[in-house]
Symmetry: C2
């Protein structure tokens, strides 16, 4: 007879009911092949005595196992493992016990992701030199959650929590269309707006819908790495275009279009990622003209539109597109907090309709409660007040960061104060060992991720100023200065 007490190890401190512990143990033994098809099992009375449980518990466990087809109870004969169960012989995993671990590797092949990008994670206890994130401490999060809660007590509660519109909450799309019209001159209606999970989902949806394997997509010679990654994973081919102080060179775009069929161009006109330059009005019009002539799509990722410190922002290409060239993308993640995963895209209806189908099979729908709460934030003017407040704070932070960086680090770095956005494009002296720098910074409580592709490729990086308050900025740049000095001494 099997040592039932060790086979079925009862744990009275577990949250799992006793009868389920018994059924699980017996199923495990059957599925491991240690209990064979047709093998006799102890009767429920013996079992309870053997493993020290109430008889009723054994009976329930056996009934469960019988109902599930694992065992057979034959009247006046006894209890047996079901006869028609197949024999499974498992690979012996290193010293597998009955407390088997979850398998660590698939038995089938998994293709790798093309051009994986590094994931930046802010370390909570350190001052982080991120690549341009907002300061969540400034955001009106309490108002957002108050809005959410009052919605889930209000009359729309059940509607907002049911299956609904693939394109996003219609009321939010309506409010957002008006907001985009007021702030960016987009002549869109709610039909042209789709709410996404951050602008990254907008990018994912659009690229997957319009790029076929082999299609050429134009990008800046420096570019947002995640965009390149998605294009490559769609099977698209990247063609890079030079970027100067007026943004991406439309002259070069024109030259490329003369030679090959271009499917789309991805741009960040406000402000070019990572160099932070603004695409000039002249080039915006030129790009629209080329798009019409050569019938390619313009993916306008306007993630920084709201944050402009010198003059006002230039109106998006989408605001003077009459031909259906532009897909406009934006996000509330930069405006409020990265964790508020609400972005949007604006596009002609034939594209929106195709994207709705894709969305149906991606995540079905957004978070309507949060979307409706953001509508309220716009209607009540809370969003606009927050923007004004954070714009003011970020302008001060930008100036302070630039001054301090200039004063403390100028012999080691090279940068231009950005006209807008949340980061400074900073080039390091070529002799600097960046890995060493990052380690020194970390030991002094400042986090800078040198694994970023951009840092490796260009010996330069974006230094975010928006998420740090003034004290943090001074501290971070002082420490950066110390570490740069030390690294410089070590190099010489």
């Amino acid at each position: 007879m099997l040592p039932w007490k060790t086979v079925i190890e009862i744990r009275r401190d577990s949250k799992t009911p006793l009868f389920i512990q018994i059924t699980k143990a017996i199923i495990r033994e059957i599925s491991y092949g240690r209990l064979k098809a047709g093998q006799a099992l102890p009767g429920s009375r013996s079992l309870s005595e053997l493993i020290g449980v109430n008889r009723k518990t054994s009976i329930i466990a056996y009934e469960e196992l019988m109902a599930q087809g694992w065992i057979e109870i034959l009247p006046s004969k006894g209890t047996f493992v079901a006869k028609d169960l197949p024999v499974v012989t498992y690979h012996a995993l290193n010293g597998e016990s009955k407390h088997a671990a979850y398998p660590e590797k698939t038995c089938f092949p998994v293709k790798p992701w093309v051009a994986a990008t590094t994931v930046y994670q802010r370390h909570a206890s350190m001052i982080a030199l991120d690549d341009g994130s907002p300061d969540t401490r400034l955001a009106p999060l309490d108002i957002i959650w108050r809005n959410c809660r009052s919605l889930t007590r209000g009359p729309f509660k059940n509607k907002l929590l049911a299956y609904g519109d693939l394109q996003g909450d219609p009321r939010f799309r309506e409010v957002l269309a008006e907001y985009l019209s007021n702030t960016r001159g987009l002549a869109c209606q709610k039909e042209h707006v789709m709410i996404t999970r951050g602008s990254i989902m907008a990018l994912h949806l659009v690229l997957n819908q319009i790029v076929n394997p082999g299609d050429v997509v134009l990008v800046g010679e420096t570019n947002y790495p995640a965009a390149n990654s998605i294009i490559l994973n769609c099977g698209g081919s990247l063609q890079t275009i030079p970027v100067d102080e007026n943004g991406i060179s439309t002259h070069h775009v024109e030259e490329v279009c003369k030679k090959i069929k271009v499917t789309a161009i991805y741009i960040t006109p406000h402000h070019h990622f990572p160099t932070t330059v603004t695409l000039s009005a002249e080039r915006r019009l030129h790009l629209l003209e080329l798009s019409q002539k050569h019938q390619f799509a313009i993916l306008e990722d306007d993630y920084d539109y709201d944050f402009h410190y010198a003059s006002g922002p230039i109106l998006p290409l989408a605001s003077f597109d009459r031909q259906g060239s532009v897909i406009y993308m934006g996000s509330f993640s930069k405006l409020l907090a990265p964790g508020i995963r609400i972005g949007y895209l604006v596009a002609p209806q034939n594209l929106i309709q195709a994207l709705n189908q894709a969305r149906r099979h991606l995540d079905r729908q957004g978070d309507f409660v949060l979307e409706r709460a953001l509508s309220q934030l716009i209607l009540d003017g809370d969003l606009q007040r927050h923007l004004k407040k954070s714009l003011k704070a970020y302008r001060i932070r930008r100036n302070l960061f630039c001054q301090t960086l200039k004063k403390r680090c100028l012999e080691f770095v090279n940068f231009n104060p950005p006209e807008g956005g949340m980061a400074i494009w900073t080039k390091f002296n070529s002799s600097l060992d960046l890995k060493n720098l990052s380690e020194n910074l970390a030991s002094k409580g400042v986090y800078l991720d040198v694994d970023r592709e951009i840092l490796r490729q260009h010996h330069a990086t974006r230094l975010g100023f928006a998420s740090l308050n003034e004290t943090e900025i001074v501290t971070a740049v002082e420490i950066l200065g110390d570490c740069l000095e030390r690294a410089s001494l070590e190099t010489h």
Copy 2:
């Protein structure tokens, strides 16, 4: 001189500041080509008089336009449209005015979605015969939002709203892993769990990661249409397998594997969609055996595990997988409300790591506040109490729906009471005109979407009982009976 008052139409009731209205109007005229490069503009004083605004407003507008590069202000010469702007000639859209509409069609081609599925939307004011949705009225939504709000006031506030873990909130994954171990016998740790936006995102991520164009994926001869759709859009080839009263026929799977290379199988063991049968324990083991032998992936979509009325549920295939065959998927959307878009997948780490990269480029991360709030719901036992309560309610509703359907509609329909889940697989007499039926139902306040693929293909549909209370069930089935009678009379 241009009729500036009509070109720049000032709307004082608009939320857009006056100077922005002016800049937008002038940019629009330039971009339409109605103001030409180098053309003279009125001075700021004349402009204010012409359009009736304060002089300061005109000056700010011109400064803005100059900063953006649209105009040039030449000292002692005057104000001009910038010289180097390109000339853009737009297609004349039907009678385009200066209040141009957003373009309705892209200038570039948009490929259609393969095998689009119908989107089911519950009509708010009608009693809806859905295809198996939970009753949001029963869900502890108030507790969830209370949890959310206290989190966003607590010490983790900033961390939960920053960029974070691609795989989902680590604390939630830990709590969920233990919950899955207690309720389903999965020996997983938090490393094997990924939080997704509903189980549809899990399905999307996994299929896109493991299916290459031309790969064969096995599915039931009837199947969840969205799964088929995603497989086809990955370029996969569907191979259908018969389904009987014990679920998908593993004997047929074995036959197919002998002939061709199979990449994956998609199953809904609890309960087969749409027929609601349970995959037997014997076949579960057989499928694991075949998967190991032929190295294909088993996508186990266990959306109905929690709702079982006859015996207890059969443990998932994932709970006795030692070879890394199974990707297990589940969701809180069925347990709580469709609008709570939280699902999960459990898989070996090599797959999870590849999926994290895909997730990075899909929506970056989940909603950590909501995820942490669900952890709290599990830790406090609120989820378990809700499950117990709703299981009891749904059992009563199932029995009532089946009784009423039998009593009132048996001559027109054919069904077996389901062992679990939220819907009854109901076959209609072949002579019935379903479109007609649906219209009659709608006119009497009952919604049944006859556009569902399943209904069209099989002359059968799932009738959901879970989302309706007892009064609604009796009313809906009575009306269904009336309409079936009427349709039957019309047919004869």
